[in-house]
């Protein structure tokens, strides 16, 4: 019997199915890499120069300069306030939009309009929305608040609509059988089923808003982002490092709080 054709060493199976397909995927990835780097005209000399500049930059960031506590504290508090007020506004506004975007509750035209609004709204990054809010409401935290409120409303409405679409139909049918109106169906059949999850999403969004509130300031919409971008443009790197550390601390704290609350809700 001829066993020469059988391999003696085991190789783990390929993720792409066959070896040929794996090679093809690898070749495709390499080709893409070559094309994209070619079109972006990345200068290797600039990359190398960047390494030296990075060392210099981090050298100037250490030690972080926490001496301007007033400015730092005011910026952080403003970011936090924007995040909180925006989450609240988002929760309130997302309820009608979420109900309108739920297939099992809203009439078809309303459903399509609400879904369209959600798809378009989710596409645009907070910073793009912030520019328009700055144009409409002037510089300052109000523009940031409205930016975050808009994106929170859209996010929370999407999650709420999905939760509503996943509710059990039993309670709804039971209430309808008793002759309950639309409002009564929502209050007694939908709210008890989605309340816990929606609270969890709202808390998650608060945490996300804290993160986003640190960047809308770059286009003039208030918060710590404005102070941060100003310190970068003035080459004030030790102050920038202090701001970055504060942002990391605040975001980590927010994430921990949101995890803690959501664990308790379950």
């Amino acid at each position: 019997m001829n066993t020469a054709g059988y391999p003696t060493a085991w190789r783990p199976p390929s993720f792409f199915g066959t070896r040929g397909r794996q090679r093809l995927a690898l070749a495709g990835a390499l080709a893409y890499l070559a094309v994209s780097i070619g079109t972006l005209n990345i200068d290797p000399q600039r990359v190398l120069a960047g390494v030296g500049r990075a060392i210099d930059l981090f050298g100037r960031m250490i030690p972080p300069d926490f001496s301007r506590t007033g400015l730092l504290f005011r910026g952080m508090v403003e970011s936090l306030q924007m995040a909180f007020a925006a989450t609240l506004a988002g929760v309130v506004l997302s309820v009608p939009l979420g109900i309108a975007a739920a297939r099992n509750l809203a009439p078809r035209p309303v459903y399509l309009a609400a879904r369209g609004l959600i798809v378009v709204g989710r596409t645009f990054h907070e910073v793009i929305i912030a520019i328009f809010c700055v144009k409409l409401f002037g510089f300052g935290p109000v523009a940031g608040l409205i930016t975050l409120a808009i994106s929170s409303t859209i996010f929370l409405a999407k999650m709420l609509a999905e939760d509503i679409e996943n509710v059990r139909v039993g309670p709804i049918e039971a209430l309808r059988a008793t002759g309950a109106g639309f409002g009564q169906v929502v209050v007694y059949a939908i709210v008890p089923q989605v309340l816990t999850r929606t609270t969890g999403t709202a808390i998650y969004r608060l945490d996300a808003n804290v993160r986003h509130s640190t960047i809308v300031g770059i286009v003039g919409a208030g918060g710590i982002g404005h102070t941060l971008s100003a310190s970068f443009s003035r080459y004030d790197y030790d102050f920038a490092a202090a701001i970055l550390l504060c942002i990391i601390a605040l975001v980590a704290l927010g994430e921990w709080f949101s995890d803690w609350v959501r664990r308790r809700l379950r």
Binding site: A85, I247, I248
Partner: protein
């Protein structure tokens, strides 16, 4: 005696005990107090709201109709935006794998290395892509290179966190089986754990790529390449009809990338 019994066995059903309802009301009061504080301290100038709708209508009228002749100029930066997202995600994946093994409790060497891994995760995730962009523009100068580095820096933490969780939840069976054959630590990682976390890695990578396309659309605001520069320039020139073209182009690209990402993820799971 009877009062005692009545307190112990109430005749009316209540959802919460007295203690629970007090705690619930305290939460409500805390939320109310925090919201009053944050709204009042923001110094909201309500006057601005009075004509906001008129301004919005005015802006919309200026944006319409979009100046389609501007479209050919934004095609190249749009492609650059996608390249920034893709290359940034790719670099992020490469760095996230070792970081995930470092930050997972069952594969890290000791408590100290675990703490380092966790600190890197938190640092990478807490700083927004745009802020990473500010930092890398200071390092590499303006251009797509800074954008790629920013996207990669933010993606590393995102990917590594989810992969680290998958590593911690990996099935013990295959790992023990491979350990029993006398495999080295590297072989256990490569053959025992990596195939188990591969679906999570690929799923989150594709998901992150689609988020990164959206984030790359604004990196230009801090000078880190992509379509954002054109959007910012058009807004600063008050060329609202060009702004409309750029926004519609971003809308198309982001929706397309979301659709691609959703299809790939549906096929994996």
């Amino acid at each position: 005696m009877t009062a005692d019994l009545a307190a112990r066995y109430p005749t009316i059903w209540r959802r919460r005990s007295r203690r629970e309802s007090v705690i619930a009301w305290l939460w409500v009061a805390a939320v109310a107090a925090a919201s009053v504080w944050s709204v009042s301290a923001l110094d909201i100038e309500w006057l601005f709201f009075r004509d906001a709708h008129e301004q919005a209508i005015d802006l919309a009228q200026r944006m319409w109709p979009p100046r389609w002749s501007y479209l050919p100029q934004v095609v190249a930066p749009l492609i650059e935006t996608i390249h920034i997202a893709t290359l940034g995600t790719a670099i992020g994946v490469v760095f996230s794998l070792p970081l995930a093994f470092l930050a997972a409790r069952n594969t890290t060497a000791n408590g100290f290395t675990w703490a380092i891994g966790r600190a890197l995760l938190v640092g990478s995730r807490s700083v927004n892509t745009v802020i990473w962009g500010l930092l890398f523009v200071a390092i590499f100068g303006p251009g797509p290179l800074a954008g790629i580095a920013a996207v990669a820096a933010r993606s590393v933490g995102f990917l590594a966190k989810l992969v680290a969780e998958a590593i911690e939840e990996a099935d013990r069976g295959p790992i023990e089986a491979i350990e029993a054959t006398g495999a080295s630590t590297w072989q256990v990682y490569l053959v025992g754990i990596l195939p188990q976390v591969m679906p999570v890695l690929i799923g989150t990578t594709v998901y992150r790529w689609d988020i990164n396309v959206r984030e790359s659309s604004v990196l230009g605001f801090v000078g880190a390449g992509g379509i954002g520069i054109y959007l910012y320039a058009s807004i600063n020139q008050f060329a609202w009809q060009q702004v409309a073209v750029v926004l519609l182009a971003i809308l198309a690209v982001v929706i397309a990338s979301e659709a691609v990402s959703a299809r790939i993820r549906a096929r994996i799971s």
